[in-house]
Symmetry: C2
Subunit: 421 residues, 2 copies
Amino acid sequence: MTDERTMKTTLMEIGKSAKAASAILANTPAAIKNQWLLAMADALDSSHEVILSANAEDMERGRAKGMSSAMLDRLLLTPDRIKGISDALRYVTTLEDPVGHVLSSVERPNGIKINKVSVPIGVIGFIFESRPNVTVDAAGLCLKSGNAVILRGGSEAFQSNMTLAKCISDAGIAAGMPAGAVQLIPFTDHAAVSMMLKMDSCINLIIPRGGERLIRTVVEQSTIPVIKHYKGVCHVYVDKTADFDTALKIIENGKCQRPGVCNAVETVLIHEAIAKDFVPAFAALMKEKGVELRASQDVLALADGLNSATDDDWSAEYLSLILAVKTVPSVQDAVAHINQYGSGHSDAIVAADPEALEYFLNYVDSAAVYANASTRFTDGGEFGMGAEIGISTDKLHARGPMGLQELTTYKYKIFGSGQIR
Amino acid sequence: MTDERTMKTTLMEIGKSAKAASAILANTPAAIKNQWLLAMADALDSSHEVILSANAEDMERGRAKGMSSAMLDRLLLTPDRIKGISDALRYVTTLEDPVGHVLSSVERPNGIKINKVSVPIGVIGFIFESRPNVTVDAAGLCLKSGNAVILRGGSEAFQSNMTLAKCISDAGIAAGMPAGAVQLIPFTDHAAVSMMLKMDSCINLIIPRGGERLIRTVVEQSTIPVIKHYKGVCHVYVDKTADFDTALKIIENGKCQRPGVCNAVETVLIHEAIAKDFVPAFAALMKEKGVELRASQDVLALADGLNSATDDDWSAEYLSLILAVKTVPSVQDAVAHINQYGSGHSDAIVAADPEALEYFLNYVDSAAVYANASTRFTDGGEFGMGAEIGISTDKLHARGPMGLQELTTYKYKIFGSGQIR
């Protein structure tokens, strides 16, 4: 525990330093930012020993605290994983610089010319849990997009995060980067997060990544704009005009390929006209893949070995091999169910009927709506953004995957010759 | 005072009704929305009597409470002003519909096609003070952009706002608009605002318009994203290469044309190399226009009748005929001053030197930066947006004037043929 005054003083220094750095970063050419990123990548490659030793401390504390093997695996760094992290930084240097693009330009009747130009957001506060690689990934994307970043990682990865942040920050500074560009909050106290969330004079955006509880706390406390997603309750709706093989393939991919991620499928809705024909094959496939089905009453009768769903199942984010199943009498009812219980993340329809497809895509109020494709594509890489810093289910500023472009805003540059109003 | 439970029940009904309406509005063609707007405009024109009578109640209460004549004038409705309000609605029907535009489209190597399409934000909570015309203006822009709106006006205009909102809502509903599209909160209690700011399950965006205190309260309490500006502390920097006539014209326009608005100039910065030549003419003009100058020490010596500035003057939003004046040794110092004391709204440089112009436009971190033009142009109409619902000094989602386009977000519509990952 650090005393509050020390913490506050340190945080304010971090904030001021980040704000000062952001003014420089906003006007740093792409080539220079890429040099800093490459210097960071090289530094990571030549610092395996110190990074692994810090990580070993975190791992030991994690084991002593009885962390699950899945959590321990998320925390673990290996030489291969560190190489993966530095290669990801190198990859970011190959992406297009999102800053300085003229997004639109208009000359008004009075002769003033108004250019809308993309600029960095400024200072980004990034709050995350467990995986230490996120320290470097987030810093790389913020820096590439001309933003300063203040990182706050989970306490379980504290030594790893501190070491990684120091390694890349030192390397960047040695290559000419301003000192406040990449900083990590050196306190594990919850109070440090609360203070950070009130620093609206020097932080422009908070991106929290983690469990729903963390994110809700951030939203409740922050006076800084937040971009977030609480959870991913994604649906596949199988229309009466669906091709069954396509539907099975998309459901299996959505549920089984990587069940622990936010774009995995949690609920399947089946048009009641085809339930009798579809459910047996569907239930057999899910059984084969080890997926537990929690079904509405009418579905239970159509196959063996299903469990009964309760109301809580319709809004559950299982993140594991469990799937809720329900019939609906129409595409309209499917959409109503999704808009009521879903999380506005990613939802798919499998259908041949163009009217059903159009209705679903227009009326489902989610960041990504799919016609005959897997919800697993909601991802910065899959969308062609190159990389992503997170996925937003908010509607403001960024919706869906957030890449480099979503880490910028714009300003208006107006060119006149003495015009007045 | 309404009891809290009644208030909460009513607010939740308003929220649910707005959310239900927003799903319909999002998919309503432009022609239909325009019909509703025209029906509203006609209804206003044929309801002068009831509107003026409600306004007379507000005026009487205002006089009894000792409201200033300026405030009373803001509150007053007249037949001409009501005609102005209905004509503004008719004008909105002539603007381009911002919904349904394909903003970008990409076909990925696996064959999925990803369309980024503009859609309404959903439900907008609009909190404002005094002027009753804002009730209708805001409703018109939200509706045109496919959003449902929940309005909360100032208590001093309560009867006027209620009557205007009922008039346009009834007319819209009679023309087929969903009932929850335009609603006004029927309570004057502060507690109603606090409740509204936590309704993140049915309100997607809060836009507060009013004094800094109101806006800070909103930001502190809201769990819903907020777009706002606290204040407008706008600058004109007169470079050593400035044309003096141009500089005087831009300063006069910025300060005197309409001193009470957020894009009016509050501080003039003068390059020290020209201060001796520039200040006398500048001070004479300001004296002629009745502008009080509050100047730094070195400026005081250059003309008669100036007052001494204190530190508070550099961040003051006077909204009246007062101007702070200071010399700076360079364009870099001008920028540093603006980024420290300004509000990120609108700032101008007057200069001939292209390097000074470029430096200023790149490094001043404001929504609108002007080379040789008046800051008074920061306005939706002047920018060619047709109309504005407010000005943002935030960096997220919208920066500067917010028109119809800024009242939309986007969703990704993905078209596949069975693709999985």
